[in-house]
């Protein structure tokens, strides 16, 4: 795969088509009904701990499971003006974490500018990196830049074997990812007492749930150290969301219904209580506000009369807002739960 769904004029590039498939999921209870069963409906936010800013859909990879439908052909990029609005909003809160995502966030021409401003505000910055961009031509200085500002790196590596990583993320991605990890290690990332945090992200290379986080983390630590001398801090397991390119994969393989049933059967009330949207504010490349990056890609902005754009940021209203949900939310509540920082139970 070398092009996004959008570039290929794929039917699922139209978000309404994805939402229709999800709403017609046969054989499973609607997600809102499951929340009602455990007295969690309507689902409400409990605060704003994390500003997750999606700075654009441009990416140097075209991964088979990408919920953003990102790729080199996507040109949607957050402008500096919108970044300034994000910073003005951030100033009005004590949210301790700013999580930068994309696409490949480093490809936004104002990425460094934004990082510097957030660091000046003394908030913890996370760069959600695909790794290969860190060794791509024109971006080789990014690792030093990140280390110099003590930016936390949370990097995708769906498996410690080349065959499975490349099957999901593209040819040669594993080899480049290993080079990037070795570069980060050389700068101190992931090394004990360096204060430079390097976390990895596992997500299943197919239509199945992630293993227990602690168990697969031990495998990663052992195998990456043994094979490549790589060290890192923590591994986060993330469940694949049945939207966008992964939804296309599920439908194409005839596994959509069984995957949704698996997510639904594995519904975990404790995970539902701890879903990340309750403490996260997601901001799209145009400044539109969402409850999470998945709702963002399904074009489900914050509703119920709250502000819908970062320029109208209102901390009191947003910290206690009602969260928009759909059947895709089963992805965050299955098994041990799933979030941008891994399992939640």
């Amino acid at each position: 795969m070398t092009q996004s769904l959008k570039k290929r004029n794929h039917p699922l590039a139209i978000v309404d088509a994805q939402r229709r498939v999800l709403s017609e999921s046969a054989g499973i209870a609607p997600f809102d009904a499951r929340l009602a069963e455990i007295q969690l409906a309507p689902l409400m936010a409990t605060g704003i701990h994390t500003f997750q800013i999606n700075v654009g859909k441009m990416c140097n990879q075209v991964c088979g499971h990408c919920h953003v439908d990102a790729g080199p052909d996507r040109k949607e990029i957050m402008t500096r003006e919108t970044m300034e609005q994000c910073l003005a909003a951030l100033e009005k809160t004590d949210a301790p974490v700013v999580d930068l995502t994309g696409g490949a966030p480093e490809m936004n021409p104002d990425f460094k500018w934004l990082v510097d401003r957030v660091v000046e505000m003394e908030r913890r910055v996370i760069d959600r990196s695909n790794l290969t961009i860190l060794v791509a031509q024109g971006y080789e200085d990014i690792p030093e830049f990140l280390a110099g500002r003590r930016v936390e790196v949370t990097a995708s590596l769906p498996y410690y074997l080349e065959s499975q990583t490349d099957a999901q993320r593209g040819e040669h991605v594993f080899e480049r990812s290993i080079r990037a990890l070795q570069r980060l290690n050389a700068l101190g990332y992931g090394q004990s007492d360096s204060g430079l945090t390097l976390n990895l992200v596992f997500n299943p290379v197919g239509a199945y749930l992630p293993p227990k986080q602690a168990s697969i983390e031990a495998d990663y630590k052992r195998e990456l150290q043994r094979r490549y001398g790589i060290v890192f801090n923590s591994l986060f397991t993330i469940t694949n969301m049945p939207i966008s390119r992964f939804l296309d994969f599920l439908i194409e393989r005839g596994t959509y219904e069984s995957y949704m049933r698996k997510l639904s059967d594995a519904f975990n009330a404790d995970a539902a209580n701890s879903v990340m949207c309750r403490t996260t504010l997601s901001i799209g490349w145009e400044g539109t506000l969402y409850d999470c990056d998945f709702n963002q890609m399904l074009e489900m902005p914050i509703g119920n009369g709250g502000p819908t754009h970062i320029r109208d940021f209102d901390v009191a209203m947003l910290a206690n807002r009602q969260i928009g949900i759909g059947n895709h939310c089963y992805g965050c509540t299955a098994g041990s739960g799933s979030s941008c920082t891994g399992s939640v139970t």
Partner: protein, 110 residues
């Protein structure tokens, strides 16, 4: 009836309890307990189940324990080796009976 095996029947497994609910309940509890983490990890148990599934040639079990093994963190290399273990034991079991053949042939032959 299109055939003897239907993939969708795996999800209907519990229907077998309809006319013998107490036995199903006992089986379910035992089954669940067997696969809990113990002296063996859940991952090891899933790999054993995958190998046995091949040995007993149960398509439902192969589907189920392929998925479970992946979800417990096994990879395709490990799962393939598990199938070879089953194959070696099944093949070895056939071959070792060759001694019985030889013993009997020896008894019968001049």
């Amino acid at each position: 009836m299109p055939g003897y095996y239907d993939q969708k029947d795996l999800a209907r497994f519990s229907e077998i309890g309809k006319d013998a609910p107490e036995l199903w309940e006992k089986f379910s509890q035992y089954y669940g307990a067997v696969f809990e983490e113990g002296a063996l990890s859940e991952r090891e148990k899933a790999l054993i189940a995958l190998a046995v599934a091949h040995a007993v040639q149960c398509p439902y079990c192969i589907d189920a324990y392929t998925q479970t093994s992946l979800e417990k963190g096994s990879n395709i290399e490990q799962m393939t080796e598990a199938v070879h273990v089953a194959t070696a034991i099944k093949g070895g079991a056939a071959l070792v009976h060759g001694l019985q053949m030889r013993n009997r042939a020896e008894q019968l032959s001049m």
